[in-house]
Each structure stands twice: as C-alpha cells, then as structure tokens.
C-alpha cells in the first residue's frame, strides 16, 4: 500500500529525514517511536504533503502511485489521512458543514454523488457515536473552544467520516487522559479492517496497549534504526532510547 524508499527531506536547508525506508501493507498497524526531534512529525507532514519541506531524495509510492506528485488535497482524496498533533480551529464553520464539504470532495474523487441529507445525517451520527463524540460538537465550529482531548477525539471522528486507506496519527495520545485515550483507541480499533492501515506516531507505549501494533519502528536522526514487534515498545518504555543509540555507535 505504502512504500517509502530512501526518503530524504529538509526544511530551510536542514536535513530532517535522512533515508527513511518503510513498507506498509493493508491491514497493518505500524507504530513509530523515537526521541524528540528524530523526525517523526516531519515524516507525517511530508506524507501529507505540507510544503514547508523539500524532498531531496527518495520516493513514496502509495497504491502504486507516486504520492509526492500529488497536492495535499489530492493525497487526502486518494485516501491518506493525517490526524494532526495540533488541530486548527475554524471559527464559524460547523463540524457538520466542514465534514459535508470534505466528504463531498472525497466522494467526487471516487465518482460518487453527494449523500442525500438524511443519509449524511445518519452517517455523521453513527460516526460520532463510534468515537463517543457528543452530538452537540457537530454543531459547534471546528475545534473552536474544544479542549485538547476534544480536538483529538474530533480528529478521530473526521477519520471515521472519511474512511481513509492510510491513517497517520501524529501523537494523537499526547494530552489525553486515560479515559479519552481508551475512547480514541477504541475508535481506531473499530475502524481497523483488512483494507486499511495505520501509522501511529507516539512517545508513549501506553497507547500501544490499546492500539496493538504489528510493527514498532524507532526513528532516530531521520532514519528508522530499529524495527520490532510490540515488545520493542515495552522495552523502550523501560529502558529509554540510550541503548539504541549505544547500539548504533557500537555497530
């Protein structure tokens, strides 16, 4: 589904990603961990197409298409979703209207007509229930006045609405209390299918108790330096990252 080969990216001349390689197949959950400043969020932004970054080398193929050729909105319509670490507020635009506009674009791309109002209403209610989002949030402006946790939950709600093939969760767990964390994880688990895949970027092993990854990768200095199963996350939680750094030095 997604194939990242030797990806290099820089911002203002500073190289942040220095040859990332990653293969993701449908149905898989990949966790990406790593110390601060290792390039985790950069990787997420580059995949979503934020233009602050310059791709200097490498390739990203998504469903056998060159993802890097696409504008951000085209990537979204192709099925790449990014749950933002810091979701923005859009005053005066209700969540419902926002989702209606977005879904309409997604469906157009797939050659589908807009949902009829009652179908849309049904869908939006179903998906809100899935992430236990109080329906009152649907009428409120996108993220405006939402608490940190509500914003994150709203991201997962949007993901549920748009049903992407590949969802990238950029530190969705940061700032969440344990109850909110469970709700978010629960939402993700319900959306998991053999056709879609998740990339979960996190600092903490805690989230991975609820969203169980098939692979755990350690990103360090812009490269994936270690890959393991979920036990790697536990090991990192216990021992930190120094032992990996040591391994690299000794290797």
């Amino acid at each position: 589904m997604l194939s990242i080969k030797n990806l290099h990216a820089s911002v203002n001349g500073n190289e942040i990603l220095r040859g990332v390689n990653l293969e993701i197949k449908p149905g898989e959950v990949h966790a990406i961990m790593g110390p601060n400043g290792s390039g985790k969020s950069t990787l997420a932004s580059v995949l979503a197409g934020k233009d602050d970054y310059e791709i200097t080398e490498g390739s990203v193929t998504f469903d056998s298409k060159d993802l890097l050729e696409f504008d951000p909105e085209e990537r979204s319509r192709e099925g790449v979703f990014l749950a933002f670490q810091y979701p923005v507020e859009i005053p005066g635009v209700s969540n419902t209207n926002f989702m209606k506009a977005c879904l309409s674009e997604q469906r157009k791309h797939r050659g589908l007509d807009d949902l009829k109002p009652h179908e849309f209403l049904k869908l939006i209610r179903e998906k809100a229930a899935l992430v236990e989002l109080d329906p009152k949030f649907l009428h409120r402006s996108v993220n405006e006045g939402f608490s940190g946790g509500e914003k994150k939950r709203n991201e997962i709600f949007q993901m549920a609405m748009l049903e992407p093939k590949l969802a990238i969760l950029d530190e969705t767990d940061s700032g969440l209390d344990i109850d909110a964390l469970k709700i978010v994880a629960n939402g993700v688990n319900k959306l998991k299918s053999p056709e879609n895949a998740f990339v979960v970027i996190t600092h903490y092993q805690r989230l991975l108790n609820y969203i169980v990854p098939d692979y755990v990768h350690v990103l360090y200095k812009g490269q994936i330096v270690k890959t393991g199963d979920k036990s790697l996350a536990l090991e990192l939680e216990e021992k930190g990252y120094d032992w990996i750094k040591d391994e690299l030095v000794n290797a």
């Binding site: 504008d71 951000p72 859009i90 635009v93 506009a101 674009e105």
Partner: protein, 481 residues
C-alpha cells in the same frame, strides 16, 4: 471611451439651447454641473417648483463644500465638471443572444446560481421574458396595494405623494450634510420610495425581481423609506451579479425613517465593478445612508455585504432619537486586488434606553486596503445607552491592509459601551488542515471566509444569504495559492 466621446460630440455639436421647458427631446444633460444642469434635470422630470428649489439649495450647499479627504482611501481627483449628470433611461443596443455575452460574465452568473432568464436580462440580452417579469410585478403591486404599501420610484412619489416626500426627504440627510449627499440632492435622477402605513407589516421582502431593475439604477440614486407607527419592512438593495457601469462615480443617498414601534431592515449586496487585477477602472462608491429611529421602541437594522467597487466610502448610520430605540449595523466588506474600502457606521444615541449593536467583518486580500470607521456617540440626555461593537479583520496574504478607526464620544455617565476587535489571518496551517481533508485552497478559503462572516450573513434574508456566500467565494478567487 467611444460612447463617451459620442455623447460629448452629440451635446456640444448639437443645437441644444439649455432649455428649461419640459418638452425637451435631449437624452443627455450637457457635460458639467451648474444651475442650468439642475434646472434641466428637474424640468426633464417634470418636477414641481418646490422640488427644483430643494435641488438648487442643495447645489448651493455643494458649491461651498470641499470633497472630504479624511477617509483612508486614495483615488485620482474626480472632475465634477466633466460628468454628464442626466441620461434618460434608454434602450441599449445589447447583445442579441447569450453567445455574444462575455463568457467570464456568464461563468460568474452560473457560479452565483442565477437562473438563465435572469442572466439574459442582467447581461442586457433582449428577451421575451420581460412579459413574465411584468406579470410578477403586477402580482406584487396588487399585493402591496392591498396592504396600503406605497412602493414606487422616487420620481413617481414626487408626483403622486408630494406631501410624504416633502415631509421626509432630507429629514435624515440634510441637503448640505456632506459633499456627496449635497451633490446627490442636487442631481439625483431616480431611486425608490417606500411608505408602510401604520400597523402594517409589509407582506413581502421588497426584493427579488428588483434585482433585475437594479441593473438599470443610475449614478445618483435616491431612496426614501418610511415606516409609520407599528409598521415593519424588509428592504433589499443591490445585486450579487457583477455590475458594470460606464459611470465611474456613484453617490447614492438612502434615508430611512422609523416612527413609533416601527422596524426597518435594510439589506445591501454591493458588487459594482471593482476594477481589474491591476487596479485599473472600477466604480467609486460614495454613499450616504442614514436612518432615524424617530419614535419610541423603533428599530433600524443595516446589513451589508460589500464586495465590489474600486473605492468605497460608506457609513450607514442610525440616529436613535426615540426612547428604547435600537440601531444595528452588520457588515461584511471584502477587498481584493487594489480595492479600497473605508466603511463603518455611526450610532448616535439621543433618546433614553437606546441600544446599538455593530458587527463588522472586514476581509482583505491582494493589495487591498480595508478600513472600519465607526462612531458611537452618546448624547447628554441619552440615559442608559448601550452599545456593543465587534470589529473583526481577516487578512489573506501579506500585501493587504486592515485598519480600524473606532471613535467614541460619550456625554452621559450611565452609558454602557463595549468594543471588541480581532485581527486574524488565513494561515498556511489552516489551509493545510483543510487541504488534508480534501478541500483545495479555493474551497477552503471560501469556507473559512464564510465562517468568519457567518454572524452577518445570518442576518440576510434567506435567498440573499445563499447568493452572498457564493459571492464572497467568487470575490476572493485566486487570492490564495
């Protein structure tokens, strides 16, 4: 411009003798402005003497006045002696079919969702549909007449209802009020007149088909609306469709009078030609709009969506004379490319327990300049006056400007005044967020701008609001990315 030369030619080479009688066939007044021009216009319109004298007084005032220069706008000086002040409504040689109309214009019509038949009329294509609109007009007239509502051109009102016109014309905007109002008073050609009798709710929004009529309104429009005791009217002016006009200067005057317990809601969508992307051409829109809440418990509400004109100078105001009266001003002003807008309101609290509310949303893009200028004045005897003002500016790009000039004059200690102002920018982050959900820059901008303007758009009558939303999006096309 060829037609203008033609006009000058016609006028200067003709046998025209500056006649004062009414049987003149001349279609145009001679270029320039003097007493004779005023007499010509008045005679042409068959006006009674009191009206002519009224115009002459205005002209006298105007001659002694200087063009205001305090607004935050720059434009080349207008030569008032090079303008033709009267052109009889004439049938223009329009395009024969939609195939001859500028495709860009048709594209805009379609984006606004204007029905094809109306498009034809707006584009000046000769159509049979006129019959239809006549019948619509007739139905309207019947319904209004049943309710006792007078709705006609101001020229007709001068002839048919002189007592009302005499009583209220210039009651709110005196002939010497300001440079542009004086000019308008001296030379206005036509406009609308509305009178709603006591305890009558106007049975319809005064709008819809008038959109078509609006395409033919003149350069110096004059509107007078009177809501008698306990009356209510909602009046819609303007047009979402792009309006092109050969006259560069527009100086309208609108007067509203609300008597005891009356309410007037006045909505405007202004989309005059703003000039091209390089800032060439475009309309100068210098408008004086003012209402008086004359009676107790009366209410006047201005709502405006301003997207057009190269230069806008406009401050719809309310004199809150009656006790417990309410004045409101809701505004969205969009400037793009090289447009300049200096707009806002004046709320003058005179009666006791008066309330005013100001919500202004300025959106600047391109290299435009957008200023809010507002005055809240509380007079000495206006006990317990309340005002709430909110002025929000939204910037798109980094070459435009947003300015706020709030003036506050309070002579009564019991007043309660609140002012809030914000400035925000459509940032990369916001656009990227929308992009990431599948919206392109243009759709995202339209959505953000509509969200920003929501509070004002919600005040517009339904069908107008839908068009206004599309209009905002169209006005800002190409301003991002």
């Amino acid at each position: 411009m060829a037609t203008e030369d033609q006009i000058i030619d016609e006028v200067t080479s003709g046998e025209y003798k500056y006649g004062f009688t009414s049987n003149i066939d001349q279609e145009f007044a001679p270029i320039g402005l003097n007493e004779d021009t005023i007499r010509f216009i008045s005679a042409k319109k068959n006006e009674p003497e009191w009206m002519l004298n009224w115009r002459l007084k205005a002209f006298e005032n105007w001659q002694a006045m200087a063009e205001p220069n305090w607004a935050n706008v720059k434009y080349p000086k207008v030569d008032y002696q090079s303008i033709s002040y009267y052109a009889a409504p004439k049938k223009k040689e329009g395009p024969k079919s939609m195939d001859e109309v500028d495709p860009e214009l048709i594209d805009t019509f379609n984006k606004l969702g204007i029905p094809l038949e109306e498009q034809k009329i707006l584009a000046g294509v000769a159509v049979d549909v006129v019959l239809d609109s006549v019948s619509v007009k007739t139905t309207f007239k019947e319904k209004l007449a049943e309710a006792g509502v007078i709705f006609c051109s101001i020229s007709e009102a001068i002839q048919e209802h002189p007592e009302l016109v005499k009583k209220y014309l210039s009651a709110v905007v005196p002939v010497g009020d300001n440079f542009f109002a004086a000019l308008n008073s001296a030379v206005f050609s036509d406009g609308s007149f509305v009178y709603i009798p006591k305890n009558t709710r106007c049975p319809m929004e005064l709008s819809t088909y008038f959109r078509i009529n609006a395409a033919n309104t003149g350069q110096f429009e004059r509107t007078l609306i009177i809501a008698d005791e306990g009356a209510y009217v909602s009046y819609l002016e303007g047009c979402t469709a792009p309006m092109r006009d050969e006259n560069q200067l527009h100086a309208a005057v609108v007067e509203l009078v609300a008597l005891k317990d009356a309410e007037i809601k006045y909505s405007t969508v202004q989309n005059w030609y703003p000039g091209d992307k390089e800032g060439k051409g475009g309309i100068y829109n210098f408008v004086t709009k003012r209402g008086i809440c004359q009676g107790a418990n009366s209410k006047i509400s201005w709502t405006q969506v301003e997207t057009g004109s190269a230069v806008t100078w406009k401050y719809p105001s309310v004199l809150l004379t009656g006790d417990n009266s309410i004045g409101e001003f809701y505004s969205v002003a969009v400037t793009n490319n090289f447009q300049q807008a200096d707009t806002g309101t004046k709320m003058i609290h005179i009666g006791k327990n008066t309330t005013s509310r100001i919500v202004s949303k300025g959106i600047s893009a391109g290299k435009s300049q957008n200023s809010y200028r507002g005055l809240v004045k509380v007079m000495n005897r206006a006990d317990n006056a309340k005002n709430y003002s909110q002025c929000d500016s939204l910037l798109i790009g980094d070459k435009c400007g947003a300015h706020t000039f709030p003036y506050l004059e309070v002579d009564n200690q019991s007043a309660n005044i609140e002012h809030e102002a914000t400035t925000s920018k459509i940032g990369e982050d916001m656009l990227f967020y929308c992009n990431q959900r599948g919206l392109d820059d243009e759709k995202a901008t339209a959505m953000i701008v509509n969200g920003f303007s929501k509070e004002v758009l919600d005040k517009l009558p339904m069908e107008f609001a839908v068009e206004a939303k599309k209009l905002l999006a169209i006005s800002l096309e190409g301003s991002v990315g």
